[in-house]
Amino acid sequence: MSRRVGIEVSIAVAEAVRLADVDVVAAYPITPQTHIIEHISELIATGQLDANFIPVESEHAAMSCCCGSSAAGARTFTSSSSQGLLLMSEVLFIPGPLRLPIVMVVADRALSAPINIWNDHQDIMSQRDIGWIQTFAQNGQEAFDLTLHAFRVAEDRRVSLPMIVTIDGFILSHVIEPVKLLTQEEVNQYLPPFKPRYRLDPKRPITMGPVGIPEVYTEAKVAHNEALKASKKVILQGWKEFADLFGRQYHPVETYRSEDADILLVTMGSISETAIGAVDAMRDRGQKVGLARILLWRPFPGPEFRRATRGAKALAVVDRCLPPGATSGPVGTELRSLFYKVPGAPKIFNFIAGLGGRDVRVKHLEEMVDKTMAYIKRRPKELYEVIGAHEK
């Protein structure tokens, strides 16, 4: 039977990796993902996990090793953050089209400059288009569950794509909280062994990653994109079976008190829990406010998001990332595109908050809702605004 324990979220993620019985972990240390890889290397060193740990010289090498080991048919895991994820970036675009089901947990952190080790979503958003499946956890339980779900979905032969589970650095990675850990027997029921359709084998040689000349490159990119879009079916099935076995059901878009809401906050990751508190407080005061949380970011669940937000007059979309010179934050841009010229679409207002560890408080979320109410009547001058920044 699963047990409810008080555990640091990073350790819970490492336990999920142990239960998934991975074969290869190649990683380079960086704050704040450190405890995940530290604990995994301890599990391997003490014989609790039978895997090869490759202590590489950089994140570029880490992802290169992961591509190689996954191509050879090994269940492969890594973890990174911030500048480390950026150093990986050149290689991150490769396992998608090569259909290598690497699983990575990203403990989100701001990007330099100025140097900053604290949480926001600039690192993962800078890697938005790498062609991996991407989910966002809001708490330790989801970090554990989604890591197991990632192996299950990524390695499914209908998917065969790499997958990232995103957890907020420090705010989740370094917090001790209750998590229900599954047993090995339970995980074995959920996660079958990795049996790739193709793998690098000297006895049966094949080529992976040849040059894509103009005559085939477009088709290769389209094929990858089609595979990523089609993965949603398996992602949903993976959550359904997880719920059937363990009782916790996840959805691409999670809602809270959204049924009759005029205004919906739209969030990703751990501030969604603070948003639940904010929604409760505003509901107590008679405001018709709810929450739509994007759990599945890539492939973007368009129909599910439209359904979840149907009937809302306006969305207060929170971004944890400020893309300089853009029309709005990445989530704001995504949703404006999704709803463009859709009849009855909610109005979309975009707020940027929580950069580089700046605390996102209930009062900030309430400010966004108040502004959204005012903006429904009178359009704001700008397409987005930063909340919680000190005045000049």
Binding site: G6, F170, V175
Partner: protein, 181 residues
């Protein structure tokens, strides 16, 4: 929900203390969060750690601004920081100190409820080291009853292994010798 802020210096076990309290509470079926003041860790520098404890699920990831309980593991911090900053009206400050209650109120203007214990002396006598976190755990239990002794002892067993007996002894001395005023 009750919220704790722990002040200490890097190496004194403030973060370990926060984790022990949260784990013991979770083992009792409560909901809890324990987290450090996020950032680089430096031995000897002032550090903070935090705990939230509740009977119902905790729906916030805000930092803690208005604690119900403040713990001070190192009395030299009293001269550096306002340890009762943001403390709730009915809150309590739990101090490791050799000073008496009236002297503390006079010197540092502490006007909340106080609990005091000479944790340095206890820790030196019982552990042979001035690491006061488990003695202060005793003070926390005496002053607030936020978790049960049994759950904390279990958590200490799992955390410290063969060192747990000494740490449990330090905690019990903390319970016995803490004065609440």
């Amino acid at each position: 929900m009750r919220e704790i802020r722990i002040h200490g210096r890097g190496g004194q076990g403030a973060v370990t203390l926060s984790g022990l309290v949260a784990i013991a509470g979770i083992d009792e079926g409560k909901y809890a969060q324990a987290f450090p003041s996020f950032g680089p860790e430096r031995r000897g520098a002032p550090v903070m750690a935090f705990v939230r404890m509740s009977d119902s699920p905790i729906e916030t990831r805000e930092r803690i601004y208005h604690p119900d309980i403040v713990m001070v593991l190192d009395s030299s911090l009293l001269a550096l920081l306002d340890v009762s900053r943001g403390l709730r009206k009915d809150g309590i400050v739990i101090l490791n100190t050799r000073k008496g209650i009236s002297q503390l109120r006079e010197t540092f203007g502490l006007d909340s409820r106080l609990a005091i214990v000479d944790a340095n002396t206890i820790a030196r006598e019982v552990l042979g080291l001035p690491i006061t976190n488990t003695t202060m755990l005793g003070a926390l239990l005496k002053a607030t009853g936020i978790v049960g002794i049994e759950a904390i002892e279990d958590a200490l067993d799992r955390r410290f292994g063969r060192l747990s007996e000494k740490n449990k002894a330090a905690m019990h001395r903390g319970i016995e010798e803490t004065v609440v005023a």
